[in-house]
Amino acid sequence: MFAASDLRKGLKIQIDGQPYIITNFEFSKPGKGQALYRCKMRNMITGNQFTQTYRSNEKFEKPALEERNMEYLYNQGDEFHFMDTENYEQTFITREQLGENVNFLQDNMKLDVLFFDNKPIGVTLPIFVNLMVTVAEPWAKGDTSGNDTKPVTVETGYSLQVPPFVVEGDKIQIDTRTGAYVTRVKE
């Protein structure tokens, strides 16, 4: 259990049987009054957000969260299948649960899968991934309005802006936190 005084940004708590992460936190206390804890929270399964102020006498359950190291295998429609690298058990996560992360999944990629109550609810990707450029228009100087970038598409179907020297068949490094181009990778 957590007490209200344990609340802080980044803490994960359970409310009505659902796991939430605190995304914004403010302590307040009116003169001679009670301590109050204002929390903005995101549901870790549905993504829904809400704000609530708690008083010091409130208690919070710890959600049963666990991270397991797994390998991404393949997708079948909107189901993305993963295998536990220790016991070879398989499970899947839906496209909706993966959100933006779906743009950076590669076959046989090792990553952490987050389980709540033994059900997978999301993944933690490596910060950087290397992906092959599959579509890139040739870039002619003067074509654009002063922007020294052009759009490309990578092997997962994700599109992003890159410098003009990137061509089809290049491997590029992408920051999975921002989805932005980092550098061209030589292999």
């Binding site: 403010e26 302590f27 206390k29 009116p30 003169g31 009054g33 301590a35 109050l36 102020t53």
Partner: protein, 296 residues
Amino acid sequence: MLDQQRLQLRAAFFQAIRIFFQDLGFLEVDTPVRQPLVIPEQNIAHVPSGTHFLQSSPELYMKRLLASGCERIFQICRCFRYGEHGRLHLEEFVMLEWYRLDADYNDLMLDCEQLFQFLGTEVAGCHFPVSLAGQWDRITVEQAFQNYCPVSVNQALQEDRFDLLLVEHIEPHLGGNIPTFLYDYPLELASLARPKASQPEVAERFELYMSGIELANGFSELTDSVQQRSRFEEEFNKMGLRDRAQRKMPEFFLRDLEKIDRAAGIAMGLDRLFMLLAGQDSLATAVTFSPDELDM
């Protein structure tokens, strides 16, 4: 850590406050920071210091000075509240308190107006985020609940949600264009304040707000030591099972209180006021060293 410019500004700010009170004939005093027993207040957690506690406010000792014959006194001192961390809260902060004999909370409100006007003209580089001109806004607690809150002040008290509703619904509206006094608090929320003669269910207590931020808490002092003793007993009951040292009756204070006829006193958070004047939005960038900058 504050840069050279803000260190200069903070020093000028403290200096101007001292000049303001000295010019008005106030005596600067100091009282013990480590105290063997503390003001019985249910919502304040004290910081232990060996066999003593660090003061949450110099209130009791300053009133004993009033009882000894001081007519006007002020103090700028460090105060401590255990576990208070946030944008507007630090465990260690600077408090200004001033007390007047033969005065009530209306006199303190005038002091506040004059002090801010003085700071606005005397401290180059300090800028108030709101206008100080004319008479400041005044609104009773009851009226504020009627205007801004879905439930009445009485209902809020019955449901033990006064503080919650105040912070959620009322504070954001206070002091936006001009500083605002929120005044006449329910008696049960004013342990050391005098009941209002014309309206005994409220106490002559006010809080000063600027830009939705609470800066000061002042009141006409309760000087009836019998009433004060029973108010402290009520606080003890609400405190539950806290350390015994925090549940001792301050007998010297109650004895001295009988020597005071009429008085008023106020506590003002100077880090918060400086934060607003220096255009900052967190105490961390208004104090010399923020908690994150201390060796752990």
